[in-house]
Symmetry: C2
Subunit: 223 residues, 2 copies
């Protein structure tokens, strides 16, 4: 024990802890999860803002050390466990650079498109109101030029940054899984290589385990 | 020689090459600059799209190796020259994590607010039309809650990720410099610690050199 993650059932939170699960570490041995209720705006409480001044999830507490931003937390765990399980960070300068290129594509290009849809699905589910179809359709339209590029890349390589699984695939996995479970045909219909990649990376035990944890968080949320 | 950077006078392009200048390497010895004219949409030409399929600048060609995304290129150079000039990447796991946290804040929170203003200034300048004040004012309003957090951090530390200059400051520098030269009072007026930091990081010789290069690119653009 020792580390505590403030989080809830969002893809941002899933992304931050996936490297622990890829390292084949029993997450319950190293990390305690503290549920933060977004519907009650607990992320804007003074106690939480003292840790994460932007009022965003997740936030990691490792003793006195506070770390936020899901991708920075994911890199922290990837480096902490780099000798356990699957290597995520690349062996050479050029391998690391290509992985970094695709982690940047994820955060700058893929995520802004999908996050809007994921947030809308989260809020409509949590507050039990119908989905705003306009937001979903706009997201799907913006996703097409992104997946056009991904399809070409994934027709040449098994994984997004090359022939080995890496942090670049891992950081995509939670939102790719969201699209698999909610919008499979609409998102992947015209992209056979993207679909094969999506099925491949979301069938990993680490991603399946994060989905289980997600269900646990959902239960905590529903009184 | 050997490397070629496709770019123009934008803060994204400046960001990508700053680590070379911090390494006190003569940039003309290692990198050739190939001007891409955004006003002629050269970034959407088939030849350029074959290198950078999203049609964005910058893009690095290092022999057969192609690398895009400004922050990934910056990390590539930071790691390539890590033993020369100022260290940018952090010495311990926790130092690197905190630097990564603030590079993520730069890319996820700071940049989306400032990029809109920088792009508007770039287009209005390049196409010689008046500035759209509404875009600038909206950007300044969104910048306030970000600088509220930065002011607190910079009242405790000389640099954004702690007491040493790092990649987190470097990735901010081009847009911080843009705000210094165009909107100093409006952006920094109520933030003395942010202003001191902005003056500190933009007065570095590497940033001054990037501004000189910028002027050279501008000249190439104007027939």
């Amino acid at each position: 024990m020792g580390m505590k993650l403030y989080g809830t059932n969002t893809t941002n939170v899933q992304r931050s802890i996936l490297p622990i699960l890829e390292a084949e570490v029993d997450i319950d041995d190293v990390l305690e999860l503290e549920f933060v209720d977004l519907l009650k705006e607990e992320q804007k409480s003074p106690a939480y803002l003292a840790k994460q001044p932007f009022g965003l999830l997740p936030c990691l507490e490792d003793g006195d050390f506070i770390l936020y931003e899901s991708r920075a937390i994911a890199r922290y765990f990837a480096e902490m466990y780099q000798d356990q399980g699957v290597p995520l960070l690349g062996k050479s300068l050029k391998e690391r650079a290509t992985i970094n290129q695709w982690t940047e594509v994820e955060s700058q290009t893929f995520n802004p498109v999908v996050a809007g849809m994921a947030v809308e699905s989260y809020i409509s589910g949590a507050s039990k109101r119908p989905l705003n179809e306009a937001i979903i359709n706009m997201g799907l339209a913006k996703l097409k030029p992104v997946f056009d590029v991904y399809e070409t890349q994934l027709s040449k390589h098994k994984y997004i940054a090359g022939d080995e699984y890496s942090l670049a695939d891992l950081l995509h996995a939670p939102n790719i899984n969201y699209l698999m479970t909610t919008l499979k045909t609409e998102a992947y219909g015209n992209y056979p290589c993207v679909l094969a990649w999506a099925q491949n990376i979301t069938s990993r035990p680490a991603v399946q385990k994060v989905v289980e944890l997600n269900a646990k968080w959902l239960k905590q949320q529903t009184p």
